[in-house]
Subunit: 252 residues, 2 copies
DNA sequence: TAGTGGTCTAGACCACGGT
DNA sequence: CCGTGGTCTAGACCACTAT
């Protein structure tokens, strides 16, 4: 049989569906071993490629992970809650705590691979900051980890006119982070707007965030405005979609 | 050669990387035709399965779509902006417009496959509404389309004690939708909390939303509270990730 | 060393789309 | 009709993990 019966789903889909149901129902729980290629070949009497195709469906859905030389395992989802408004409350960074520390349940968030420099603003950055294209901006790129696990990449841009020569342009921005520094400059952020998109990661992002196949990322684009509605920061974040739940509270 | 040279990426990855760069750079633009299986076999001298594997990488990244009998094409991303706070302002549903109509640029949003009924509250719903598990709730499930294209699935739950026997339990809830009805019952929503997760869709969702492979979805879980902080609605939405950008504005 | 997943070849038949 | 992508078989060699 080169193909399956008329109008019935392809074999690899039926195998994938069966396995998915095993997982969804909890008969195969988090971390449990899933039947591998050889098992499926025997159980269903299919060729190697067909068994692989079935497994690749589940891998691309992000519900199982393949570990080379070992087997296929059910994947868990234990996200971190990132509370939009609360984490950016003035009280927080006013108290010397950096914004991103609010997300950590036990404060073991770390940053690494920090790059700081001045660059001409790309078009969308200039637009967000209300500047002419190619105006100089301070660019801060870093990666955040929690317990060694990479969680997000972030790049923020601030007008060089404002930030150049200040601690904002240093690797270590001091207590309270860049928002505390902006406040000292008389430009305390008062309003924020965050924009969220989902997509599959680029291979570079997948490597930097150590994403397993089938994991989407969230892009969070935040613009910080002063009380006078002057844009003082644009922050472009890429979050591991399997690691975060975002929360926003607001009134009618 | 059964495999590629030592430590170099597999052939299918190199082909995928090349094509991805063609797309990223704009040499292949939105909607353009991408070299197909037969093209890749000739150009790179590889077997069918290898060419397919290269293309499947891009398909799973959501950057190309395969059209049977026709070819492979670069995919476009033109999302709708869904503005969290603004769309739920009291002025809106107070004026007889339903909440979801706020998202449509030209008002041609439609709902279909509406199901309304009373069910025992599942655990997470009961928790969100502050009810005991299995307390009766009114359940409203529907699908939203824009210009014929399915955009999101939504299921809302309201305490049956509140909503049973009212227009809320009807397919057509009347002008202003369920929020206007809640206001008439003296339970106008005053606070909202939205929670956002991202993941790959289930096959059912992919079918209902007509998602092409490689498209993630966003889950938006919203709880509506009265001024007295009584939970009056829990709404579980699943959005086509390629169709939406979410926006939230808030103050420091 | 035995077993696992990862890559690849060389074929085959099918369903669908546009000419 | 021919070319496209979709499914499937039957092999092969490799790299890695666990024992």
């Amino acid at each position: 049989m080169a193909t399956s019966d008329n109008d019935s789903p392809p074999v690899y889909r039926e195998i994938a569906d069966t396995l998915r149901e095993e997982i969804r129902s909890g008969r195969l729980s988090d971390g449990a071993r899933v039947p591998g290629e050889n098992d499926l070949m025997k159980q269903y009497g299919v060729a190697r490629a067909t068994a692989r195709q079935a497994l690749s469906v589940l891998i691309n859905e992000g519900i199982v992970v393949a570990i080379r030389g070992s087997g296929i395992y059910v994947r868990a989802f234990r996200p971190l809650r990132r509370h939009g408004p609360r984490r950016l409350s003035r009280a927080l960074w006013g108290s010397g705590r950096a914004v991103w520390q609010a997300d950590a349940p036990d404060g073991d968030f770390e940053t690494d691979s920090i790059e700081v420099g001045e660059v001409p603003a790309p078009g969308y950055v200039a637009k967000a900051l209300g500047l002419a294209e190619d105006t100089l901006v301070v660019r801060r790129h870093r990666r955040y980890r929690l317990g060694g696990r990479p969680m997000q990449l972030a790049t923020s841009y601030l007008p060089a006119k404002l930030a150049a020569g200040t601690a904002i342009a240093e690797a270590d921005t001091g207590p309270g982070g860049i928002y505390a520094r902006l406040a000292e400059l008389g430009r305390a952020p008062a309003h924020f707007t965050e924009e969220i998109r989902v997509r599959m990661p680029t291979p570079d992002e997948a490597r930097e965030l150590r994403l397993s196949p089938g994991t989407p990322v969230m892009d969070v684009l935040r613009t910080a405005l002063t009380a006078e509605h002057e844009a003082v920061e644009f922050n472009e974040m890429t979050l591991d979609g399997s690691a975060y739940v975002l929360q926003y509270d607001f009134d009618a």
